[in-house]
Amino acid sequence: MRRKKVKADPKGVLTGAHYMDGDYALAEGALAAGCRFFGGYPITPSTETAERFSERIPKVGGVFIQMEDELASIASLIGAAWGGKKPMTVTSGPGFSLMMENIGLACMMETPLVIANIQRGGPSTGLPTLTGQQDMMQAKWGSHGDYEIIALSPDSPQECFDLTIDAFNLAETYRVPVFVMTDECVGHMHEKVIIPPAEEIDLVERKWYNGPKDQYLPYKPDKDGIPFMVKTGDGYRFHTTGLTHDERGYPELNAECQDVSLKHLINKIRHNADKIIRIEEDQIEGAEIVVVSYGITSRVATKAIHKARKEGLKVGTMRLITAWPFPEKRFHELASKIKSFVFPEINFGQMVREAERSVKGLCPVVSVPHCGGWVHDPEDIYNAIKEASK
């Protein structure tokens, strides 16, 4: 779908080579993407992002507000999006849980916004300062009801920067909340981050409506399936609600409207999944074992994979850059060509279930779980690869 692209505003782009951690890179990515509203609440290990925003955003003409809790943070984000800004917030597990109701509201109102979850060990207060990847399913299913979202999974501070820009572009393209699911390891890891000049950063503009005011319908899908959006103060006198609504935005509480409404919300992502999904593959051709991973685990798995390859095992890798929508088709396609998938995750098996569902029994999917608090021992992943190749 062809959408208008604009160049980034140089004010927000800190061009150059930097040595910064993932948290800071998220903030820089957001500012480069044109984010000018941050409403957040401090929570380890995401606080650094909020601190960076509080320092940088007043200098680029934006607003930072530390809200009273995460519920207020996400609500203020939705308000800010309808006020015309590109908003972002960061949080971790407990805050993520608090945000769930309003994430549903953002989906229902088709509001573009970005939420970053720097995952930590859970459940509950868990391990505030230590890593985990235990909220992956929650990103997709956390709020009540049926809806679709997009989630990206960076594996380095550089990717934190790049994928945040992509997150904003995806949010504006599909009018949906987009999650950047990173973890404490990547968030607190200091690495080189190269920020390009503003002219080299392409941004997707919001789908603004500029037709006759009295004919504006806030939820009428355009040819590409995405409705036009407006902001308050421009005289459109629109109404939008969290109730099931029709094209006018008015509540219509019956099964027929629910059918139309939900199909629209879900299909705008599902039918465009091929355009949204990004995977990084290596040596898949002729591979017998494919190691699937995302986030920090993909870097940890590299050591195990090198060791296995040295021993002559044909190991391919698949890194999920987009965690949701899940690349079901690719899994199903590969399942008949390979011996097994090996899926390490820093949780007791979350995305691996999606993999199992996608392969439909054509090949085994071996889970390499981890309780959280630290990354895998590469030996465990290597052992799983060895086991699977037998």
Partner: protein, 291 residues
């Protein structure tokens, strides 16, 4: 039917209502419609550009107001109207944001947001329609239900101590606090008008009858009886100490404009402070509140 055809388009309030959604869902004798008319009057009298007024409501009977008013209106989640309005206002400071919600929504689940927005002196006008219960879900006890009143989840009478909303918001830092009953039509209109034009956090509590639930459960008659009771037992005391505004069950109601003071709004304070600290590095945000 004949009347509708004759009268079509003539009722002055119709310009501000989404006529395709009228008749509304409120009960006969409910005071919310009256508050909406007072609000509409206030909007007209204030002279504000109506394209630049937004209404945000939460969930509940009063929460449905957003659906009937023909301005940029948002029907958000329960209790989160105020932070939504905060984000809306900060993203677009030109817009005059009004939060129109009920006592359960604003002071119950939304209590935290109410006090923080008041503390920050966010430039919002909050109209809290107080009917002393959670009406939409069937009349449950709320943070504002007077002691000894009956509610569906307090079938033996409420033993909890209710909020005095003007006291709550004044202590939190609101700069305009008023309380009226729904029958104080012109005064409600005037208060809303003043609040719309005044920068800072303005809070207007309007006590309205809830016929089907509060009145029925407590055998207080119909809407008219309760409206009459509230009005007849109210005493206007402008500038009264908000600590003395507790409402007892079927007791005296003190109404009036209690607080009207000046304090920099969130955006003003941000601009002043950041301007001082960052100097030229800082870009002034929004417009200067000099009216």
């Amino acid at each position: 039917m004949n009347d509708e055809a004759q009268n079509k388009g003539q009722n002055p309030i119709e310009g501000l209502l989404r006529m395709d959604r009228i008749p509304h869902i409120w009960c006969p004798g409910c005071g919310i419609g009256t508050v909406v008319t007072s609000f509409a009057e206030a909007l007209k009298k204030s002279g504000l550009d109506l394209d630049k007024v937004a209404v945000v409501s939460g969930i509940g009977c009063t929460g449905r107001v957003a659906g009937y008013i023909k301005l940029d209106s948002f029907h958000t989640t329960h209790g989160r109207a105020i932070p939504f309005a905060t984000g809306l206002k900060l993203a677009n400071p030109e817009v005059n944001v009004v939060v129109f919600s009920g006592d359960g929504d604003l002071a119950g689940i939304g209590g935290n947001h109410l006090i923080h927005a008041a503390r920050r002196n966010m430039d919002l006008t909050v109209i809290c329609v107080n009917n002393f219960n959670y009406a939409m879900t069937g009349g449950q006890v709320a943070a504002t239900t007077p002691q000894n009143a009956n509610a569906s989840t307090a079938p033996y009478g409420n033993f909890e101590f209710p909020f005095s909303l003007p006291n709550l918001v004044e202590s939190a830092g609101a700069t305009y606090v008023a309380r009226w009953t729904a029958l104080h039509l012109r005064r409600v209109t005037k208060s809303i008008q003043e609040a719309l034009l005044k920068p800072g956090f303005s809070f207007i509590e309007v006590i309205t009858p809830c016929v089907t639930l509060y009145a029925r459960r407590n055998r207080l008659g119909d809407g008219l009886n309760l409206l009459k009771y509230y009005y007849d037992n109210s005493e206007i005391r402008h500038g009264a100490d908000t600590k003395e505004l507790d409402i007892s069950y079927q007791g005296k109601l003190i109404v009036g404009k209690f607080v009207d003071k000046e304090k920099p709004t969130f955006i003003d304070a941000m601009n002043t402070h950041m301007g001082e600290v960052l100097g030229d590095d800082y870009e002034k945000y929004g417009r200067i509140n000099d009216d």
